[in-house]
């Protein structure tokens, strides 16, 4: 336990932040005037959305990086980030449907943003499935990078949907400032921060695991080469 704390102390840093986020979300903030208690769903909803956007952006940047430099580190970044981004998109969709049921009485509407987000989810799910199927590592990395860049086009579109078309989503972040009372901003930003921290730690852990798996693969190849006699 001691050694554990010494070596990977950073993973434990997530726990207190999670508790703080839960506290501010449910206890430390007042009910919203118009939305009532159900507004509390939204803090994590917005947090998930932010993280999902950031995650897919990292995937896209890492994919470009891979295509330029051809080092598998970039591929690991892209894969890990897409994986976690997909989890957060799932959370986003689930919390969104729950909120929709409470606020509008319908689980799902074909609102532009909902549609764009669903498409995003499907595309990145396909991207991750493809990664499982491909054969050799370099080829897989190249193809996935190309697909990730195609898929990423949907992210800015998703972000702009509520600005281009009338949507049931309010525009919170505008040029003039944040369109939200201070009492809600505090839990919102704390949730965002907590989710981001979860993302960072998750990335670190996932990439470490991927690197370890890569190490095992390399070693196996080295042994195979040894057995085959140089």
């Amino acid at each position: 336990m001691k050694r554990l704390l010494a070596r990977d102390w950073w993973i434990w840093a997530v726990l207190p932040v999670m508790v703080v986020a839960l506290y501010f979300d449910f206890v430390g903030s007042p009910n919203d005037v118009t939305l009532g208690a159900s507004a509390r769903i939204l803090y994590f909803h917005i947090g998930s959305a932010t993280v999902a956007g950031v995650a897919f952006t990292i995937t896209a940047i890492a994919s470009i990086g891979y295509l330029i430099q051809r080092t598998l580190t970039w591929d690991i970044w892209a894969a890990a980030s897409a994986e976690i981004g997909l989890v957060f998109t799932t959370m986003l969709l689930v919390s969104g449907t729950i909120w929709g049921r409470i606020a509008w009485g319908a689980w799902w509407t074909w609102d532009p943003r909902l549609t764009a987000t669903l498409i995003l989810w499907v595309i990145f799910a396909a991207y991750l499935l493809l990664r499982e199927w491909s054969d050799n590592r370099a080829r897989r990395a190249t193809v996935s990078a190309v697909i990730a860049l195609i898929a990423y086009i949907d992210v800015p579109i998703d972000y702009m949907t509520i600005r281009w078309w009338r949507s049931i989503h309010p525009v919170i972040f505008t040029n003039q400032g944040i369109n939200m009372p201070i009492s809600m901003q505090i839990p919102m930003f704390i949730s965002m921060g907590a989710m981001t921290l979860v993302f960072i730690v998750w990335m670190a852990v996932r990439m470490r695991l991927m690197r370890a798996e890569l190490g095992v693969g390399d070693l196996k190849n080295a042994i195979r080469a040894r057995i085959e006699g140089q």
């Binding site: 549609t115 491909s134 190249t142 193809v143």
Partner: protein, 201 residues
Amino acid sequence: MWVAMTAFVVMVVFLFAFALDTNRVRLASVFPGILWMSFLLAGMIGMSRTYAHEIPEDTLTGLVLAPGDRMAIFLAKLTSAFLFMAVMELLTTPLFFVFFSEPWNGEWILLGMTLALGGLGIVELATLLSAVSVNLKSAEMVFMLLLFPLEIPVLITTVEATTAILSNPVGNPWLWLHGLLAYDAIFLALPLLLYEYLWEV
């Protein structure tokens, strides 16, 4: 290829005509959706083989060996796919109007533009994905899995634009046509940027 695609769409027209009870369903409201769903499926069926038929005798290597830019192969495939799509649309669109007794309001320039841009959008992505998946195991699966979600914007914009054009009085399709144009431009530019990477092993 366009023969197969046209035959397929004609079959779809018949099937829809039987599947939808014309007395109860207001056909005008579903007409653009049926039209574009058929075109999308026909495009998928036609284009999934775009690169696949280079496989049996490895003719793709033969093409690569020829002097000239590798990009030309992609652009040629895209052009021919678009022409097949255009011929198919030209032949079958009148059929849709006849069988679904959709009133024709004479907006043929706008409708022609929508057909051309929509067809281009469908084949651009299909050709790109066909190129992406050609060397992969389970290529067909890859193709389908990525094609449908990525084609949704084309489906939405074309259906909305067609609805606007065919409505009485004629609505304004330009918002959707602009969206479609942007999509076409993006998926024309993207392969040009990424295509070289798909050749490697």
